[in-house]
Each structure stands twice: as C-alpha cells, then as structure tokens.
C-alpha cells in the first residue's frame, strides 16, 4: 500500500483500463490537451494518444449520445462531464437512451458506458454549478450509481464501472480530489464491486450512513462524539445503486439508531429511500426515528455563510446523532 490522492487514484484507474482494453476511450471537455479541468486525466493524452483521449467541444448532449452509440457497436466509452451539473444538458441521453436501450431492444443492446466527473456542491459555485445529482440518476431503472469517498474506493469503483456491461455513473467529488489515502500498488489489481458498502469505522451506539463528501464529515463527527461517549458506526455506501442493504441492516441491528447524512436535497433524496428500506425490513430493531441530514430545500446561494448554512455540516450531524441517541 502507498498513499496517493483521490485524483491520482482515478488517473491510475483510467490508465489501467485504457491499457487493458483497446475498446476503452476517454472523451470530454478539456480531458486531453488541458489534462482535465481538475487534472484527473493528467498524462493520458501523452500516453494513449489523441485517438483514445479525446477533447470535445462544449456539447454534452452530443458527446454523451456519441458515447452511447459507440457502446451499441462494441466500444466501452468513458465520458467525462466537467461536472455533473453539466450532465443536465445531456439528461436525455443519460436517462432516456443509456438505461432504456437494453430492455427496449428486447435485450439486444446493452450499453457498457461510464459517465464520470465531479458531483455535488464544491465551494461557492452557486446554484447552477452545485448540483448533487445522485438522487436524480439513482431513480432511473437501468442506471448504476456510485460515489466513492476515498482514493482506494475511487480507483476500485471506477475500474469496476468501466468493466460493467451497463451504464454506470461514477460521481466523484471536487473537494476530495486532493485528499489522500492508502491504495494497493499499481501492479495489484484493485476492483471494488458495485453494491458493496464499507464500514469505515466500527461503533455500537448509532449508525451514520453516508457517501462521498459526507464520509469525511461523518468521520470527523464520530471523533467528536467519542468525547461524549457515543460510539458511532460509519457506513460508507460507496455505491448508491445497487444499494448494499445487508451492510446497512447489519449495522442497524447492532446500533438500533440511524442518521443518514447525504449531499443531495431532502425531498426524494437518497436518504429517503434508505429510510424506507430500513423501516420496512428491520423496523423492530429501531429504538428511535431515523433522522436525515442533507442540503436544505433551497437552490444553492453564492454567499459563503448562506452556502454553509444550507449544506450538511458537522453541527447538524452532531445534533442529529445526539437526538437519535436521546443524549
């Protein structure tokens, strides 16, 4: 194991998959000559050439569709959205074409495509540039959605996504690109299955369910809770769809209390679905109503203080945990 950044981990995943399979290519805005707006594709143009690392015009709907078409005839595209806020321009392709093709064609056309890029609020990018899209996409049958929080998970999930025979969205996080973590050496194949959550910290009093940018937040709050003698178990979903019910339920059976901390909005957010499944399946294990911490139901304001106030944060999570623990 060695320590690398989330950005490097994604870069390695891309390089390894491009190396392994000549049908894999990377396409998106500024991915080649500029090395990616967030430098995730650093060095790939030099290594794999312009046939496989392809800069596009600003035409999200066009190149997302191009990717799906190429996948219909056997290629395995990786389509980068500069951010998932811009994937909304390609919503029709991602939602209407990619996941429907297989069923609609009676099983003739599966779509092995990866859509990836940063998702969720970053810092003061305001309403149009701060979308957390996981709940939009997770609600669509036929799409798979993952949202890694650590370099290791980012590498392993992206590689798995590229090998998957269906459309997979890898929702990265801008604020995590420079974060570091231990990852297996490059000569050791690292594949992390979709639909497998990871307990990032064991605990006995409360299960905090999180993903992506809310994982470091939850870990930080868990340390604070320790001082109050509350032992929090941190369950990192890693993949939102498919959802690892077993790991969630096992944790809840142990702790009997749940807080879900998500980066999307409260109404029809990812947490609403998880909440439903917990109460339906192991209602008797619960000692308190489940609480959710999410963004507030407000378009993202630019002002820094307002932005902070509408985002999930440590204070809100801390308070929610205390509430479910009646502490």
């Amino acid at each position: 194991m060695r320590e690398i950044t989330y950005r490097q981990a994604l870069n390695e995943a891309l390089a390894e998959e491009l190396e392994r399979d000549p049908n894999v290519f990377l396409m998106g805005e500024e991915v080649a000559e500029y090395h990616g707006a967030y430098k995730v594709s650093q060095g790939l143009l030099e290594r794999f050439g312009p046939r496989r690392i392809i800069d596009t015009p600003i035409s999200e709907n066009g190149f997302a569709g191009l990717g799906i078409g190429a996948a219909m005839v056997g290629l395995r595209p990786i389509i980068e959205f500069m951010t998932f806020s811009f994937s909304l321009v390609a919503f029709d392709q991602v939602v209407n074409n990619a996941p429907n093709m297989f069923l609609m064609s009676g099983g003739q056309f599966n779509i092995p495509i990866t859509f990836r890029g940063p998702n969720g609020p970053a810092h003061q990018l305001a309403a149009t540039h701060s979308h957390a899209t996981e709940n939009f996409y997770a609600s669509v049958p036929g799409l798979k959605v993952c949202a890694p929080a650590t370099p290791r998970d980012a590498k392993g999930l992206l590689k798995t996504a590229v090998r998957d025979d269906n459309p997979v969205l890898v929702l990265e996080a801008e604020l995590l690109y420079s974060s570091k973590g231990m990852v297996e050496p490059p000569d050791e194949e690292l594949l992390i299955p979709l639909g497998k959550a990871d307990v990032k910290r064991e605990g006995s009093d409360v299960s905090v369910i999180c993903y992506a940018q809310t994982v470091p937040l939850a870990l930080k709050v868990a340390a604070q809770l320790e001082e109050e003698d509350i032992s929090a178990e941190i369950v990192d979903l890693r993949s939102i769809k498919p959802l690892d019910e077993k790991t969630i339920f096992d944790s809840v059976a142990k702790t009997h209390r749940v807080v879900i901390v998500e980066q999307d909005h409260p109404f029809c957010g990812v947490g609403a679905e998880i909440c439903y499944r917990i109460q339906k399946n192991i209602f008797d294990a619960l000692d308190a109503p489940i609480l959710r911490v999410s963004q507030e139901d407000v378009p993202m304001p630019y002002n820094e203080r307002l932005e902070k106030s509408v985002l999930p944060n440590a204070d809100k999570l801390f308070a929610a945990v205390k509430q479910v623990c009646y502490a």
């Binding site: 805005e29 500024e30 000559e33 500029y34 707006a37 800069d55 596009t56 015009p57 600003i58 035409s59 999200e60 709907n61 066009g62 806020s85 811009f86 909304l88 321009v89 810092h123 003061q124 990018l125 305001a126 309403a127 149009t128 540039h129 507030e296 139901d297 407000v298 378009p299 304001p301 630019y302 002002n303 820094e304 203080r305 307002l306 106030s309 509408v310």
Partner: protein, 325 residues
C-alpha cells in the same frame, strides 16, 4: 438613451476604463479571498459590450453568459452593486445569492449572468419573442462566447429566432478560446459567422477591438430590426488577456499571441482616435482613469462594509410569494 441620440464617446471610453479597473480590482480581491467561487474577467474585450450598448436604448434587453461583470456595468448597474455581488453581500445586484457568474439587474434590463454554456441563448429568444408578441420596438442583445456555438440549445435557439423572425442580435464574443480549447479545435467551420448562414440569419464579422466599428455595426442592425423584426448575428473578434478564470494559467497560448492583441488594446485605440481628433487631451484621459480607479476603490469599500443576508432569509428566495415592499 432616446432614439436618434448618440452616446458620447468620451463617456464610453470612461466606461471602458471603469470596466478594466473594476476587473483588475476584482482580480486582486479574489486573490485576497474576498471573492469566492469562479471568477471570469473581461479584460481585453471591453469594446464589445460598450460598443454594442452604445448603439441601443436603455430599455432594450441584454443577456449574457458568465463573463458578465462588464455587461452589468455597461448596462448601468453601479460598481458598488457589482463589487458587493462578488463579495456575496446583500447590497449586490443579485443580493449576494448569484455571485460572479449570475449578475442580474432587472431595473437596468440586464437579464443575467448565465453560467451553463449555451443555456441562456434560448432565453434570449424568449425575450425577443415577448417583444414581438407585445408589438414593441425593442431589441434583445444576446452575448455569448465562441464555446457556446456547439451546444444544441444554441442551434435550436437560432432556428426558432429565424423561424419566428424575432428581434434579436446574437453577439458572439469570439475571443478564440473556450477555456483551453481554441475555436479551431472545437468548431468544424472555417469561421463562426457561417453558423448564421445555416439558419438564414444575416451575419457579419466585426473587429471587437474597435469600439466604433462595433457600435456602428450594431446600430445599423438594430435600426433595421426596429423597422421590421428579424434576427441578426455578429461574430465579434476579440481577445481575453487573462486566463479563462482566476485558476487558469492559460498555458495553451503563447506570450507573443497575447502581446499582439495587447498592442491592439481597445482602450488605447479609442483613446488614440479621440486624441487625434482633438476630442480628448492626455490630462482628460488621466482624469477619467483616476475617476474610474476611485469609483472602483469606493466600490470595494462599499462591498466590504455591506451586510450579508441573514441566514433565515434565503428561504424567502425559493418561491415567489408576491412582491415584498
């Protein structure tokens, strides 16, 4: 401005100076972390918006993309309100809620400030539609970058404008780059103007470093549109001196290229024209520049001491429930 009136050129030069000094100050305040998020500067392109707005009335509609500080300033939004917006303050033109990329000023007919590339072009067409619907003689000026012309929304919007014969001028500020991608690498056409031909929209290429050329061309087109509504397209050739945004070192272009354009600076050009014609002395120019700098410094002070919106109040901006007094 009333019909038939000409804007005073010295005043327009003064506006260009205000824009330049505003952007320089914004850059400095960004580095001092008084401004957050993304911040895109207009330095080098001043003649485009000032030239175009010198040719229209105050009640014409203006809309642009995210490189929008200059458009608001040129539309009459105060430097105070612009700087306060960058600082995220309640006194900002969008109350600190929109930030650099989302400047709005309804009173001055500035309809944004739009940060999704291409997304505002259909909006501009909608505004032009409303003009025709109400049988008014206004026009809509829609500014966008060369990067926007490959978005589906742009193409759909042009077709709609042509089909319904709407009173709109599409103004492509061709500064040769969309982030690090040159027009050559993004667009299949030899020149952007040919996009207009594809929709049977009359179009022309204009030297965007020349205030007078931009103004006269826009004036001519707007005059024709007011007589009988139709769309028009201008490819205005210009250059941005700075990187795409504050975080872009712009290593995709050469120093020589930048220097070439700097020598053709729009402010220097108009100044030289006016000086040659005896309409401006060096002392007057220095005075204008001094005034611009002072206005901008005062704007920074204003922004600094302005209040932020109270946290609870942001919820009043989710749905409109009737005008607040």
């Amino acid at each position: 401005m009333q019909p038939g009136e000409q804007r005073d050129e010295v005043e327009m030069l003064s506006l260009m100076l205000l824009i330049r000094r505003f952007e320089e100050r914004a850059s400095q305040q960004y580095q001092a972390q008084k401004i957050g998020g993304f911040c895109h500067l207009y330095i080098g392109q001043e003649a485009v918006v000032t030239g175009a707005l010198a040719a229209v009335r105050d009640d014409d509609y203006v809309i642009t993309a995210y490189r929008d500080h200059a458009h608001a300033l040129a539309r009459g939004t105060s430097a105070d309100a612009c700087m306060a917006e960058l600082f995220g303050k309640e006194t900002g033109c969008s109350r600190g809620l929109g930030g650099s990329m989302h400047f709005f000023d309804r009173k001055n007919h500035m309809y944004g400030g739009h940060a999704i590339v291409g997304a505002h072009v259909p909006l501009a067409v909608g505004m032009a539609f409303a003009i025709k619907y109400r049988d008014e003689d206004r026009v809509t000026l829609c500014f966008f970058g060369d990067g926007a012309i490959n978005q589906g929304s742009f193409h759909e919007a042009l077709n709609l404008a042509a089909l319904y014969k709407l009173p709109i001028v599409f103004i492509c500020e061709n500064n040769l780059f969309a982030m690090g991608t040159s027009v050559k690498r993004s667009t299949s056409l030899k020149q952007i103007i040919d996009r207009a031909e594809g929709y049977d929209i009359p179009g022309e290429i204009v030297d965007g470093m020349n205030f007078r050329e931009v103004r006269d061309k826009v004036a001519e087109i707007v005059d024709s549109i007011r007589k009988e509504a139709h769309p028009a397209f201008l490819e205005v050739r210009t250059y941005r001196y700075r990187g795409h945004s504050m975080s872009d070192p712009a290593s995709y272009r050469t120093k020589q290229e930048l220097e070439k354009y700097r020598l053709d600076d729009p402010i220097t050009r108009l100044r030289a024209q006016l000086t040659r014609e005896g309409k401006l002395t060096n002392e007057q120019f220095d005075m204008l520049d001094k005034r611009a700098k002072e206005t901008v410094l005062a704007a920074v002070k204003f922004a600094e001491k302005s209040p932020q919106m109270p946290v609870e109040e942001v919820y009043d901006y989710v749905y409109f429930n009737g005008a607040k007094e």
